[in-house]
């Protein structure tokens, strides 16, 4: 081969390496950016008057007189719409039945969509579900719902070769020549004045409980559940992992028993997470009867088993990284083996052990499969510490899955889902960045 060709091959090989690293960085950015942007939308958004009314009614939060004034303004500004509808309804009851039959279904559909946008009509009875009691609380959702009011969507199946075709009919044309026709341009031009959107930072998203199956409110129960599960898992895994690492590094002598144990640790690390979930169900719940059904305790134990190998390995590495001279100095001063371990080796290895523990913590917080059968429920109240022994809990990871795939109106609450993902991802990121920083300081110390 020519030297030129060999050079080109060499360069392109280098380029391939650079390309794959670039792709990895790009993938990370592409995955994180939508989560941060759209997840941030759960906390900071343009909140309408309905959002402020909701906070006032459900959580007693906000400046009551100011909000009540805003509500009065809201009622005044939307009143013309309902006046025109009432006028048209009266005209229909007076008029002939053919005309009534023509307009009644369309009017019913219009009133339903108006209710979704602006909340229950003035004077209407208070609906049962919270989602029907309030109009759109977020301006971005309100714009989408306005489109539903202005335009009626239907599916045309008349052409069997093409399947359903979406047809968009402006309601203004449907109601042409009736008093109602006037409300559509009015709504289109004055929606912002009616709903009075204002930049809002809803910190309550993190600290409020959700209600009406996550339509409103925050994710406090899920955050707390994730915290309990993670803390519980660490409570079991950390001491056991450190003790095992001490034994393996300081006491064990190579032999069949130790080889069996190390093989088991790598095997345990390779068990698929869903199998841990089944095992937790079969062992902790169905055999040991730790709790009658799912509980935080059973979930924590399952998670602890899952992260145990990681904890052991990182602790082992950290202990092995302690210079031999430390140990020799301690032994030569007359310290016993145990004193050497607890007094010299462990303190020196502590930052390293901590790094591993933090990373395992992130893993336990994010893992879903092991808690599906052992701890997680879709909807629940925040638990007290004592209840964790017997009660299941909602958790961030499980609820992300549940809201994104099984919720009755998953498209309506995308912002909640993204907010949960953001909360979980930032939790894990913070833990990992902390670990990276701790490790960087260790390596600096070892170098210096």
């Amino acid at each position: 081969m020519r030297i030129g060709t060999r050079k080109i091959l060499d360069r392109s090989f280098t380029a391939l390496g650079g390309f794959s690293i670039g792709l990895m960085i790009l993938a990370l950015i592409l995955i994180l950016v939508p989560m941060f942007i759209r997840g941030g939308g759960a906390l900071g958004f343009r909140g309408t008057i309905e959002h402020r009314r909701l906070l006032l009614e459900k959580f007693e939060r906000g400046n009551r007189p100011a909000i009540e004034a805003e509500i009065r303004r809201f009622e005044e500004r939307r009143a013309p719409i309902y006046r025109q509808i009432a006028e048209f309804e009266a005209e229909l009851t007076r008029g002939d039945s053919a005309r009534r039959r023509q307009y009644a279904p369309a009017l019913r559909d219009l009133k339903k969509n108006l209710g979704i946008l602006l909340g229950p009509a003035p004077g209407a009875p208070r609906p049962m579900l919270a989602r029907d009691q309030f109009g759109q609380t977020r301006w971005d959702r309100a714009v989408i719902k306005l489109d539903r009011v202005l335009i009626r969507e239907s599916w045309d199946y008349s052409d069997p070769t093409r399947g359903g075709v979406r047809v968009r009919v402006p309601r203004a044309r449907e109601f042409e020549g009736t008093p109602v026709a006037g409300i559509f341009p009015f709504l289109e031009n004055h929606l912002a004045e009616i709903l009075q959107p204002r930049p809002t930072f809803y910190w309550g998203f993190l600290t409020d409980e959700s209600f009406d199956s996550h339509f409103f409110g925050g994710i406090w129960a899920e955050l707390l559940g994730t915290f309990y599960l993670t803390a519980g898992a660490m409570l079991f895994a950390l001491p056991m992992g450190i003790m095992a690492a001490i034994y393996l590094t300081e006491y064990a002598t190579d032999g069949p028993v130790i080889r069996l144990i190390t093989t088991s640790i790598t095997t345990l690390a390779g068990v698929p997470s869903i199998v841990f979930g089944l095992f937790g169900l079969a062992f902790f719940i169905n055999t040991l009867h730790l709790s009658s059904a799912k509980s935080v305790l059973a979930g924590s134990l399952t998670l602890a088993l899952m992260i145990l190998p990681t904890v052991i390995r990182s602790a082992e590495e950290a202990i092995r990284a302690v210079p031999r001279t430390f140990k020799e100095a301690a032994l030569s001063l007359g310290a016993g083996r145990w004193q050497t371990v607890t007094g010299v080796i462990l303190p020196a290895a502590l930052p390293g052990i901590l790094t591993g523990a933090i990373i395992s913590m992130g893993r336990a917080a994010g893992e879903t499969a092991p808690i599906i059968f052992t701890a997680a429920v879709s909807i629940g109240k925040p638990l007290t510490l004592f209840q964790t022994l017997t009660q299941p809990t909602p958790a961030l990871s499980w609820n992300i899955y549940n809201l994104a795939t099984e919720h009755e109106a998953m498209d309506e609450i995308r912002h909640v889902q993204f907010g949960m993902v953001l909360a979980l991802v930032s939790l894990v990121l913070i833990l990992n960045i902390a670990a990276i920083i701790v490790r960087a300081r260790i390596s600096k110390k070892l170098k210096g």
Partner: protein, 387 residues
């Protein structure tokens, strides 16, 4: 010796340095009980592995008794809840295999190339900057990947999938073909005389470039016109699983490449090889065992993953037609276990409940074997690098 100065009496001096028999026994006891309990805690992992195998087998065995295993592995009729329930999981096993294979196809070339770049190309400071990226990629929870696949990637694939694939075919195809043409035309003209070689090389390259460009253009046209019915399909899952398996592949193979000694590299450079030749012909073959271990660990990561496939694979228990059509939804073992247990839990004792444990057993046995093999390769790699 002054009388009354008791602490220097011989007996006390002796007792100060030597333990009384009772104290010695106590110390012996404490040491052994302590070590014993440490060993007990340590062996908990072994106990856990044994228990996992025992409990999964215990609940999987009734399925074998009730239905036998032939239907499970050979039939594609998966109707666990119908009146005449059928438990043919061949399509589910196929789905698991397809997404795992696809993930490996994504993760291994990229992962090994990235590992090579990290260990041999990038300067130290840049490498330190890339490491956290890999760690964070590994740390993002699987449910977040699944959510991304379902909510962001699937709609994109459904609406713009054809264009994306066409762009990707150009991005990958054009450089690969260009390189192939350069190498081919060079190799084909080595026998020619110097005077004719240059012209021959260019002529051959041009001659090859025209059909190659046409082929690429036709391929991208075909891909561009592709109708993707659903964004939740095997391709989506394979790409996301590939990204998830990348960190494992990169870090394990980088370790393997680092373990190959400087002497081999220096020897190769001294003989006049370029960096690419050194890496491809010397370093990567020397690190073969470690890279194999990395691939196996990547397979395990992709196969055992639950949330991404459950959310974004479409969960249709079918073998697509034709079987390599990755734009069709599939269903995997892990997703079936996760999805069916909620309902099957109410019918404990039925074949429907136990079949899920049988699936878990399949996963467990497979990952156990993989683990054994990868450990063997890692040990081998360590032996090689030490010798």
């Amino acid at each position: 010796m002054i009388k009354g100065d008791t602490w220097l009496t011989p007996t006390l001096a002796r007792r100060g340095l030597l333990l009384t028999p009772a104290a010695r026994r106590r110390q012996w006891l404490v040491r052994h009980v302590g070590q014993g309990s440490l060993l007990l805690v340590t062996s908990l992992s072994t106990l856990a592995v044994l228990f996992i195998f025992y409990f999964i087998i215990r609940d999987a065995w009734p399925f074998v008794q009730l239905r036998g295993i032939r239907e499970f592995f050979t039939s594609t009729h998966w109707y666990p809840s119908a009146a005449g329930a059928e438990f043919g999981a061949a399509s589910i096993l196929f789905g698991s295999a397809v997404v795992t294979f696809g993930a490996i196809l994504v993760a291994v070339p990229l992962g090994v190339a990235a590992a090579v770049c990290l260990s041999d190309v990038l300067p130290f400071s840049l490498r330190q900057g890339v490491k956290p990226v890999i760690e964070i990629l590994a740390a993002i929870p699987s449910v977040a990947y699944g959510f991304f696949a379902l909510v962001v990637f699937a709609p994109l694939l459904q609406e713009k999938g054809g264009q994306l694939l066409a762009v990707a075919s150009w991005l990958i195809g054009a450089p690969v073909l260009a390189l192939a043409i350069i190498v081919l035309s060079d190799l084909a003209t080595t026998r020619m005389t110097d005077a004719r070689r240059r012209a021959g090389r260019w002529g051959l390259a041009m001659g090859l470039a025209v059909p190659a460009l046409y082929g690429l253009w036709a391929l991208s046209r075909g891909l561009d016109g592709l109708q993707i019915n659903s964004g939740t399909n095997a391709l989506n899952v394979a790409i996301i699983l590939g990204i998830m398996a990348l960190p494992t592949v990169v870090s394990v193979s980088e370790d393997a490449l680092q373990a190959v000694g400087r002497e081999l590299r220096e020897g190769s450079y001294a003989l006049g090889a370029t960096r690419a030749e050194t890496l491809v012909k010397i370093v990567i073959p020397a690190a073969r065992s470690g890279i194999t271990a990395a691939i196996i660990l990547g397979v395990m990561r992709a196969l055992g993953e639950t949330m991404v496939v459950w959310m974004a694979s479409g969960n249709a228990a079918q073998i697509p037609t034709p079987w390599f059509n990755v734009l069709e939804p599939v269903r995997t073992l892990t997703a079936t276990i996760a999805g069916d247990m909620g309902e099957a839990d109410q019918v404990t004792g039925s074949a429907r409940y136990h079949v899920l444990f049988f699936m878990a057993l399949c996963l467990l046995v497979f990952s156990f074997l993989c683990n054994g093999i990868s450990q063997r390769f890692i040990r081998k790699a360590k032996r090689i690098s030490e010798s």
